[in-house]
């Protein structure tokens, strides 16, 4: 059984996405990346990201990740900010520690693509 199934599938993503997106929007380290974007499409992207991190069915590829973030000049600090918000979201939803570690490991696996390394 994947983490995605263990924590409740699509319903878990629905529960997490508003909390996660809200944290990202008020995080001074990264909020400026979201200022000019359409909130609905951004919300959909966060949902796709969480589905991927939870190990659910997704169409994410390393190439997409790279292309989407290529011109944003992202640093370790930005990546860590997103990861911290992800952990805080999962803690708020009382996701067990073991699962959180697995989810973060998936997110970290795309780090080089996101930071264009």
């Amino acid at each position: 059984m994947s983490i995605f199934e263990k924590i409740g599938g699509a319903a878990a993503v629905d529960a997490a996405v508003d909390i996660f997106y809200r944290k990202v929007l008020i995080d001074d380290r990264i909020s400026h990346f979201f200022d000019s974007t359409d909130m609905d499409s951004q919300h959909a992207k966060q949902k796709a990201f969480l589905t991927m991190a939870f190990g659910g069915p997704n169409a994410y590829t390393g190439k997409d990740m790279r292309a989407a973030h290529q011109h944003m000049n992202l640093t370790d600090e930005h990546f860590n900010a997103v990861a911290e918000n992800l952990v805080a979201t999962l803690q708020e939803l009382n996701v067990p520690e073991d699962y959180i570690n697995e989810i973060v490991a998936v997110a970290v696996s795309v780090k080089d693509d996101v930071l264009n390394r």
């Binding site: 996405v17 508003d18 997106y21 809200r22 929007l25 008020i26 909130m39 609905d40 919300h43």
Partner: protein, 322 residues
């Protein structure tokens, strides 16, 4: 190269160009309005398979099945070949008759129409002045109460449509209308608190939605925030105050940046909303008005706890000519 076949004619498309732009560039007289996928006046029909899904956003299931699409939103994949044709536009439109048109203030006019169309208050229709000029307006009426369709038209000094409508339309005139469209309307549940916020004629759909909710027996609190830059540009203020007096669950605030009156308070609509409702968790939110207002308010409401799924927004877009 992408090739467009239009009514039997072949057109070479430019990279990233929409079907509408390609046709206009080749001097085809095709109707269009907002160029943003909202008014649906550039509706066309194409062969199945070649139409990107994004060009069919907002269309009905039946329209999608027929291969209808919005040409302003249709940017075909590179090196493809697309077959499209104009449709009998009349089929998508219906006739309406002007009952009256009266000023609500110095800028905004109330147009009341008699037409057979079924709609939800808060949806919008596209009105046609002629074969090339079309504009979209939100529906302020509740059919069961008003027995007509009511629209609020802001008379723009250079408005190809609005100046004509406000200055020249008289009772008994007929005009063509398309729709209804949009998902900004009341659908319960009656126990969920509501927040409605709109600036300028953003009040039009909200005036329909709030009265529809009351008619359907909405029980939870309803907060309506409306306003304008100047106190004298606020409208329907006395009517809204009376509506709130008759319905204890309804709370109305009319806010002007400058000036005040018996029904209008001076202030900042964003700050007033924050002070009145610091926590929007569990609220259903309706936002209507200019794009800048809707964007800013949407973010504020989301950060105040409203779920994205519970925020319905209708941004009024300027209609631009190429």
């Amino acid at each position: 190269m992408t090739v467009l076949h239009f009514n039997g004619q072949e057109i070479a498309m430019l990279v990233g160009e929409s079907v509408l732009d390609a046709l206009l560039r080749n001097q085809h007289a095709v109707a269009f309005g907002c160029r943003a996928g909202v008014c649906q006046s550039c509706l066309m029909q194409g062969e199945a398979g070649g139409i990107p899904a994004s060009a069919q956003d907002g269309l009905t299931a039946a329209q999608k099945k027929l291969g209808y699409f919005l040409s302003c939103r249709c940017i075909p994949e590179a090196s493809s070949c697309l077959q499209v044709q104009s449709i009998q536009q009349q089929a998508a439109r219906t006739w309406a008759q002007v009952l009256d048109i009266t000023p609500l203030n110095a800028q905004v006019y109330r147009l009341r129409l008699r037409c057979e169309l079924d709609y939800f208050p808060g949806q919008y229709v596209t009105l046609w002045r002629n074969e090339t000029i079309a504009r979209s307006y939100s529906i302020a009426s509740v059919k069961a109460v008003d027995h007509c369709m009511e629209l609020h038209i802001k008379r723009m000094q250079e408005g190809n449509f609005s100046r004509w409508a406000c200055d020249e339309l008289v009772a008994g005139d007929s005009l063509q209308l398309q729709g209804p469209m949009g998902k900004c309307f009341y659908a319960g549940p009656t126990e969920q608190p509501l927040l409605l916020a709109g600036l300028g004629t953003g009040l039009a759909p909200l005036y329909g939605i709030v009265r529809d909710a009351l008619l359907q027996g909405h029980r939870a609190p309803i907060y309506l925030f409306t306003g304008a830059s100047l106190a004298e540009r606020c409208y329907l203020s006395a009517e809204l105050a009376e509506l709130a007096r008759l319905n204890p669950q309804l709370h109305v605030k009319t806010i002007a940046q400058t000036g005040y009156s018996e029904w209008v308070q001076q202030g900042d609509i964003y700050q007033t909303l924050r002070d009145t409702l610091p926590n929007l968790q569990g609220f259903k939110v309706f936002l209507c008005g200019a794009d800048s207002f809707v964007r800013k308010m949407k973010k504020q409401c989301f950060l105040a706890g409203a779920s994205m799924a519970d925020i319905a927004a209708d941004a009024f877009l300027p209609f631009v000519t190429p």
